[in-house]
């Protein structure tokens, strides 16, 4: 039996357990420190500044997921491995989920700070609008996938689309919103996290929070990839060619 057709071995169990344990411990700490820790007293933001620990890591997770997705798409185009296509798909899915959480949490946050008292939930702030465009582009990736039945064609065409999609990410999230007047930090050319933007007490919660949410994203991504590969193996088995196409792993 060629080991490649086996379902196990997609991820190092030990690495997975270490990351899982770390994420659970660190995120528990983030929830406690995020709610109880000391923050600067600011007008407009007030206690909502604590959202920084939870809203911003969503976008870090989206960025990481889109880059991972594009990497596997490129590898899929080079070698044609089925698993690369599945990895690209699941990474894009996690990116879409974290991006969706980011945009919804951003809406709630903005509604009660920038737009407090106006009843405005969505004001076409460049940062919001561009983020929404990015999510639509990644939504298009899944629409495209669903439109093609043949797995090999689907994998190749989706991979090419995905490479174009990832190129828009830095433009839509950073470059374009900074050219326009925006209420979001990082607007009008100012970096969002310069030395003066973040109080020292908050750094000790914020940076671990970013890492922990990246870890959580990776855990969920790994689960999805393992499930997707199981489905693929069962599908090939049903087709009676579990032995052929075995080169698909890695």
């Amino acid at each position: 039996m060629p080991s490649q057709v086996q379902t196990q071995g997609l991820v190092s169990r030990r690495l997975y357990r270490v990351v899982r344990g770390t994420v659970v411990v660190v995120l528990t700490g983030i929830l406690i420190a995020g709610l109880l820790g000391k923050i600067p007293q600011l007008d407009i933001l007030e206690q909502s500044a604590r959202n920084l620990y939870f809203h911003v890591p969503m976008w870090f997770a989206l960025m990481a997921a889109t880059i991972v997705s594009a990497y596997h798409s490129a590898q899929h185009l080079r070698h044609g491995d089925r698993i690369r296509d599945l990895r690209a798909r699941e990474a894009a899915r996690l990116g879409l989920i974290f991006g969706g959480l980011g945009i919804v949490t951003g809406m709630v946050w903005a509604r009660f700070t920038w737009y407090e008292g106006t009843g405005v939930w969505w004001n076409f702030d460049p940062k919001q609008s561009m983020a929404a465009v990015l999510l639509l582009i990644y939504g298009g990736y899944f629409v495209l996938r669903d439109a093609i039945d043949a797995p090999r064609t689907r994998g190749r065409i989706a991979a090419v689309y995905n490479l174009f999609a990832v190129v828009t990410m830095p433009f839509l999230l950073y470059i374009l919103p900074r050219q326009m007047p925006s209420l979001h930090p990082g607007g009008e050319g100012s970096p969002a996290f310069s030395q003066t933007d973040l109080a020292p007490a908050m750094r000790w919660v914020f940076y671990p929070s970013v890492l922990a949410f990246l870890g959580l994203c990776w855990l969920l991504y790994t689960q999805r990839v393992r499930l997707a590969w199981l489905r693929e193996v069962l599908r090939q088995k049903a087709l009676g060619n579990a032995h052929g196409d075995g080169d698909a792993a890695h």
Partner: protein, 93 residues
């Protein structure tokens, strides 16, 4: 909370037989006279601090524990599925 007991001097707002008051404050029902209560003890003393933020923390942590339990359970089920599929593949050889 403070209850405002109706005193004749207060207002004519809630005398029997009158129309329903249209201001929200007329419906206030809070205690003016604090009961001679002792200082809260045990869990109440801890959870009542700082505007009861610890109650929020407890709720958030409970939800987080549920999510983590789901994560671990899903991992176990995937492990089990992978073992079963691998076994059935090697049996078919």
């Amino acid at each position: 909370m403070t209850i405002h007991p109706l005193r004749p001097s207060d207002s004519a707002a809630l005398r029997p037989g009158q129309e329903r008051p249209d201001t929200t404050t007329a419906y206030d029902s809070t205690w003016t006279e604090q009961p001679a209560h002792s200082a809260p003890e045990g869990l109440d003393r801890i959870m009542g601090q700082d505007g009861k933020i610890y109650v929020v923390l407890a709720v958030v942590l409970l939800i987080w524990i549920g999510v983590v339990a789901l994560l671990f359970r899903t991992d176990r089920q995937i492990d089990e599925l992978e073992r079963r599929v691998d076994r059935s593949i090697s049996e078919n050889e």
